[in-house]
Symmetry: C2
Subunit: 322 residues, 2 copies
């Protein structure tokens, strides 16, 4: 490990916010420094309650997260938010705008808010999010909220980095019906019908409850449906109680480790995929790869056959994210 | 190769539409059959003009694609459309709705339209799209239009499977400004300001043209900006001419193979990542992997170190997408 990474790790463990910010930038970039940091700090991780918040744009996720921060702070818990946008260069502006709404907490040294965006290659932001959570845990954050921008597959995958996933809907958007139809219900541990003062809010909540009753659950947890108005804070205490109950349920039923083990399986798959991808990209200019590329372009070899032939050579010198 | 795949390949080459549909389903699923099909048909590929059409939801991409099909059919070209949604289970309904607008061509045996959705794992739909294009080429389609649903990173990546990328904008949506700001302009070979009868259309077109003039281009191609009303067909002949000119430009300047070679690099990276991921997933229940998983959960080994240790064993028995 280089001495710079070593110094960052030490200061991060001591709760230094600047060191934490730099550590998250390092894991976003990947490479040897990221791997070293995770290696160094891994034994200090695993203690936070990780809460995913997902839902369509405009349902009020950021306002809700802001209100959740307030609840955590009432109990003097250190709380961090990672706002993750896995996909779109077009929504970058929206994230930053949403961040502004959380500024009521910017002077609070026990609140840490950070946006993470996709820096290009596939799987990048998802892998970086796993590691950013670890940096936050090592730095003493007890509640970590992962807010995603949308409800695409990648957003759902990232929300599932969490122990407890909160799915936010709003009345009249048609989202509730879409959610029921698309099977997205399965990922929610808690449902929030936000903007509960809009017409149809009670109806939305009952429809979701009814559809949940039809589901066959793998565990005895019945996802609560909370009616909230994040703007005024109404229903947020109830939501926070539900989140804590869910964590307690997972612990009592020995499901927390099981859930985390599933997550680690998913992460391991992405890490090995990432290593393979990076190693190939690093050897694109080697003679062997150039020769195969020209054979593919000339239709002499198909890409799948070429990949199978290339793999053994690629992976003998495997190093993670470097 | 199994005899079923062999039969599909033969009928597909003869232009059988049902065989083509089945072949695309096979490449969507991945696995050994997909690899065999591509291997068998690869020498028959590479001849179509592949056109990507991308832009935000609501700008009228599907109507525009529909009008482009009509242009192709005037020249008696066989044309196929792949509508690709890389991300969202929530937009599934929208895609199907959009397809209905193209029904004017459903009785035309020389038009083939197909939706492709993400079947779960990362990189899946992108890899399947490369192979679906190959199935269409082998089946004799001369123009293949890849329509993507949005403008996220994954959609842009898929649009870039194309020789010619058309970026569709509409006046007054703010998309034009966003596009200019976000650097998305770089991916467009041709720009369309659709809904050209809306207020501000000419202004949008001039702003885009002006911002294009400020760009430093890698080639001597200056992306044309076409004002169109897809609904009435206005401007579509001009768009189609621009697309043909772009293909001619790529060919004349020896850029077509260069562009395709870059694409094959990207595809190879995704294939090796996919193989690594699948091989790990296939050995999750092996004793070695179970032991490492429990060490990770117990914080004895971090996931990156674990992945590096696992890799050599994983990839000695590498087989593509199986």
């Amino acid at each position: 490990m280089n001495s710079n990474v070593d110094a960052i790790a030490k200061e991060l463990l001591a709760g230094n916010r600047r060191a934490l910010g730099r550590a998250i930038s390092l894991v976003e970039n990947g490479g040897a420094d990221a791997t070293s940091l995770v290696h160094e700090l891994y034994s200090h991780t695993g203690k936070a309650h990780i809460i995913g918040v997902t839902g369509s744009p405009g349902v009020g996720k950021s306002t809700l997260v802001d209100a959740l921060i307030t609840e955590c702070r009432k109990e003097d818990l250190k709380v961090a938010v990672l706002a993750v946008d896995p996909s779109s260069p077009f929504t970058g502006g929206a994230i930053l705008g949403d961040r502004i709404r959380m500024q009521g907490h910017t002077l609070d040294r026990n609140v840490f808010i950070r946006s993470m965006a996709n820096r290009g290659h596939q799987g990048g932001v998802s892998l970086a999010t796993y590691d950013a959570i670890r940096m936050l845990e090592a730095s003493g954050y007890q509640v970590i909220i992962i807010e995603t921008v949308g409800v695409g597959q990648s957003e759902l995958a990232i929300a599932q980095h969490a122990d407890t996933t909160i799915l936010v809907l709003m009345p009249g958007s048609g989202d509730d019906i879409q959610a029921i139809k698309s099977g997205i219900m399965e990922i929610g541990d808690i449902f929030v019908v936000n903007k509960g003062d809009l017409p149809g809010a009670n109806k939305s909540a009952s429809e979701i409850t009814a559809s949940l009753e039809l589901n066959h659950f793998q565990t005895s947890w019945r996802p609560p449906v909370v009616l909230a108005i994040a703007e005024t804070g109404q229903g947020i205490d109830q939501l926070w109680q539900a989140a804590k109950e869910h964590k307690k349920f997972l612990t009592d039923e020995n499901l927390l480790d099981k859930r985390r083990s599933l997550r680690i399986r998913a992460e391991l798959s992405e890490i090995v995929a990432d290593i393979a991808r990076r190693n190939l990209q690093g050897s694109m200019d080697s003679e062997a790869v150039r020769k195969i590329l020209s054979q593919i372009v000339n239709r002499e070899v198909d890409p799948h056959t070429a990949a199978i032939n290339l793999l053994p050579g690629l992976l003998s010198s495997a190093t993670a994210r470097s």
